[in-house]
């Protein structure tokens, strides 16, 4: 299992390939990648991601560890960036490796649901006109945890 909290960009292809190479006995690998999207009205110039350095890594590790115990996973990878990101940049990725795809898909969804609401990150949108908006959490993100 690897957890990385980083300011630097990462290469999706390189990370996915390295994960696959490290898990050649897995029958299935699932990856999910989050990307900074344009605001609905357009005009987004950056997404600023703040985090709680002392807590972030610990929280992500606990979430990934729980996924490893709960599903029949061979391995898990979580990368999450912080700092100022432009539209189109990759924010984060998760990868899961399992014997069968059901475990790999479900564990990846679990990781994403918990990352959204239980990992100490906060996003702020910076718009072209200079306005800044903290992204509000959604009730459905919190509700998503109840299915696990």
């Amino acid at each position: 299992m690897r957890v990385s909290v980083q300011g630097e960009r990462f290469e999706l292809g390189l990370e996915a390939e390295a994960f696959a190479q490290a898990n050649t006995s897995a029958g299935a690998i699932v990856t999910f990648t989050g990307i900074v999207r344009q605001a609905d009205q357009g005009g987004l110039v950056a997404m600023e991601i703040e985090h709680y350095p002392g807590m972030t890594r610990k929280a992500l590790t606990e979430i990934a560890q729980t996924a490893l115990e709960r599903w029949s996973l061979g391995d898990a990878l979580v990368i999450h960036r912080y700092g100022r990101l432009a539209p189109g940049e990759l924010i984060m990725m998760v990868a899961t490796a399992a014997r069968h795809r059901k475990d790999a898909f479900e564990a990846a969804e679990y990781l994403m649901d918990y990352l959204k609401s239980r990992a100490p990150f906060w996003k702020k949108e910076v718009l072209a006109d200079g306005a800044e908006n903290w992204v509000a959490s959604k009730a459905e993100d919190e509700d998503a945890l109840s299915r696990w």
């Binding site: 989050g34 703040e50 807590m55 610990k58 609401s117 990992a119 100490p120 702020k124 509000a136």
Partner: protein, 81 residues
Amino acid sequence: MEVLYFAWVRERIGVPREWVETSATTVAALVEELRAREDRYAAAFADLSALRVALDQELSDFDASLDGVREVAFFPPMTGG
């Protein structure tokens, strides 16, 4: 104890962290003390349902005891992923 603020809580209070001398025994009591300090604290802590708290870097709740706690963090609901 060390008190940390993140996101709009940090912006409203105006500092990312500060040392707070307190005899509060619960998070709720600490919040009451902070609210009484200045308007910026009262504004930040106006609606506790919009806030989350972590004690020594573990998510907790406002009823929790501060016994033995070294670091308290206040922040809005998280928006990772």
